[in-house]
């Protein structure tokens, strides 16, 4: 998959060359009629050109926030600006800047692939000739061109996901929002999607991603916000966030079987089985002392890995803190 360059209808708008935030959310509230407060006054900023992760457990408010930004959900109060366009004052300006890849398939399953994308271009007001060109380019870049005459319902799950990405890109949006784009997609397609999105981002498209694969967020994104129970509990750069991780747990695979876990000062070591150790390492300490200590005891390490993805570890800690805070 090769990415598409920036050439959006939005780039023709007044704010195209201005230095503005890709997304600015201020005191956004959403209360559904059925009762729950889905968003309790969130503030969020995404810089132009960023690759931004919006994470949170199920029901945290991610999809509601995305729904409001993309005009699928009515906000209760608050302000949303996309590239300087106020959603309340100029919804069409906001919409022109955004491409949305939703969580669930929402295209007409009874249309050929090509028509799904062409129609979307038409809704964005792209003249027919340019729409045909953009559709061909988008489908080729997502490896769907050979399937252009196939009915959308006949595509595999991975192809349907790619079709939604192609459709979202047909008007060359400046801000691409992906709501769990790789859910249910096999690892090969997921990795090719990652490469595609990274290249797209390098070419200037701002990307907001929600995902349950924290490894995906850690690998792709430069900034992150964590939302829980309608509140933003963390909003920072990915590196700054990972710096907050004080300890990490490493899994070591050993060459020789051990009867008892070794004792090393400053490290908490548990034995999982004869050839596997679980070691908690403080961030400041690093792993050199660990390997030196093990080497001194003639313990040879074949490989090591993190027990948990670093972001996952932080994510769980933050959610716990957030829940405990609410409880107290």
């Amino acid at each position: 998959m090769a990415p598409i360059g920036i050439c959006s209808i939005c780039s023709m708008c007044d704010n195209a060359q201005m230095e503005v935030k890709a997304l600015k959310i201020t005191d956004l509230h959403k209360t559904y009629r059925s009762g729950p407060h889905a968003l309790c006054g969130i503030d969020l900023e995404v810089e132009e050109g960023d690759f931004f992760a919006l994470l949170g457990p199920n029901g945290a408010g991610k999809s509601t926030a995305i729904g409001i930004i993309s005009s699928l959900v009515n906000k209760s109060s608050g302000k949303v600006e996309v590239f300087g366009h106020d959603l309340g004052q100029d919804p069409e300006g906001v919409k022109a800047c955004i491409g949305l890849v939703p969580q669930e398939f929402n295209f007409n399953q009874f249309l050929p692939v090509e028509e799904v994308v062409l129609n979307q271009a038409g809704y964005y007001g792209i003249p027919r000739q340019l729409a045909v060109h953009n559709t061909e380019e988008s489908l080729k870049q997502l490896d769907l061109w050979p399937k252009r005459r196939v009915m959308a319902r006949e595509l595999s799950g991975g192809m349907k996901r790619r079709l939604m990405i192609a459709r979202a890109l047909v008007h060359r949006p400046r801000l691409l929002i992906l709501d769990e784009p790789t859910a249910g997609v096999d690892i090969e397609i997921r990795r090719s999607m990652w490469e595609f999105l990274q290249e797209l981002n390098r070419n200037g498209t701002t990307i907001i991603l929600t995902t349950h694969y924290l490894e995906e967020a850690e690998n792709l994104c430069r900034s992150i916000a964590i939302i829980n129970q309608g509140h933003i509990v963390e909003h920072s750069g990915m590196d700054e966030l990972l710096d907050k991780l004080h300890t990490q747990v490493l899994i070591l695979n050993l060459k020789e079987r051990l009867e008892h876990p070794p004792i090393l000062e400053g490290f908490e070591i548990k034995q999982r089985d004869g050839r596997t150790l679980e070691v908690e390492v403080e961030r400041e300490r690093g792993v050199n002392d660990l390997f030196t200590g093990l080497s001194d005891q003639n313990i040879e390490v074949l490989s090591l890995r993190n027990k948990q993805n670093r972001l996952e570890q932080l994510f769980m800690d933050m959610l716990d803190t957030s829940r405990n805070g609410d409880a107290s």
Partner: protein, 258 residues
């Protein structure tokens, strides 16, 4: 790219999508009306009509032609929008339009335009069928086409409102079955309201379909129970009312946004 030019492109896309949709399944969308109307002509026009004689100074078969054409137009304009808009809600591809920079009035015009296109195509098909049974001489082309289009618009808007509120497929069949069909049958398609007792004549005046059928009959035959001006004003008032309601419903996101 000017904003209005892109609106025009969006409108063209919606209406073209709608026309392609109902033409793909023309056996279900265009043909049934022609077959049903042919049966009406055979039974009510030829077999029973000859025993009825004249109505309002016209042969009975000539008298029922305008009503039968308009009945098909009403049913199909309504059905096209209600089924298309509801299925786009049901399959969630209405979201494609909601996220695009398309104002609600363009969405309304696009869907209504699709309904009008089907209504007119069915109207043409039924008119062609009627030529096998009667010599159709149009009294006023302007009134005929004006009423045809305005009636299509009105019922397409009705279909849109029905689809906005509908939550299940049952909800899109209740109104046509229990409201639209009785109103149409009692709207003077098969008889002149002058035949009714005074009380029922007054009751009939509350039926909006009566005004459309009579206005259309005026366009085709030059005969009507209702003054043509009154009929056109009533139709326009309904269009404006339903247009305002559908615009308001879409603006609030009723049935399509949370």
């Amino acid at each position: 790219m000017s904003r209005y030019r892109s609106y025009w492109t969006a409108f063209q896309t919606i209406i073209l999508k709608e026309i392609v949709r109902f033409m793909r399944i023309w056996i279900q969308t265009i043909l049934p009306a022609a077959v049903t109307t042919a049966l009406y002509f055979i039974i009510f026009g030829t077999l029973i009509g000859e025993r009825i004689g004249e109505m309002d100074g016209h042969k009975y078969i000539d008298f029922i032609v305008p009503g039968l054409i308009l009945m098909a137009v009403i049913t199909n304009s309504y059905a096209n929008v209600v089924s298309s808009f509801f299925s786009s809600k049901f399959q969630r591809h209405i979201e494609e339009l909601l996220i695009a920079p398309v104002p609600n009035w363009i969405i309304i015009c696009g869907y209504v335009g699709g309904g009008v296109a089907r209504g007119i195509m069915v109207g043409i098909a039924v008119t062609l069928v009627s030529l096998f049974f009667t010599n159709l001489e149009i009294y006023s082309y302007v009134i005929t086409f004006l009423v045809l289009i305005l009636t299509s618009i009105l019922f397409a808007l009705g279909g849109l409102i029905n689809a906005i509120f509908a939550r299940t497929f049952d909800d899109i069949s209740i109104v046509p079955t229990f409201v639209l069909t009785p109103l149409t049958y009692l709207g003077g398609v098969f008889y002149s309201i002058k035949m009714l007792p005074e009380f029922w004549q007054q009751v009939s005046l509350g039926n909006p379909v009566l005004y459309m059928v009579n206005a259309f009959r005026y366009g085709l035959l030059g005969a009507s129970d209702i003054p043509i001006g009154t009929a056109l004003i009533i139709i326009l008032i309904f269009i404006l009312g339903l247009g305002f309601i559908s615009s308001h419903l879409l603006e609030r996101g009723v049935g399509i946004k949370t």
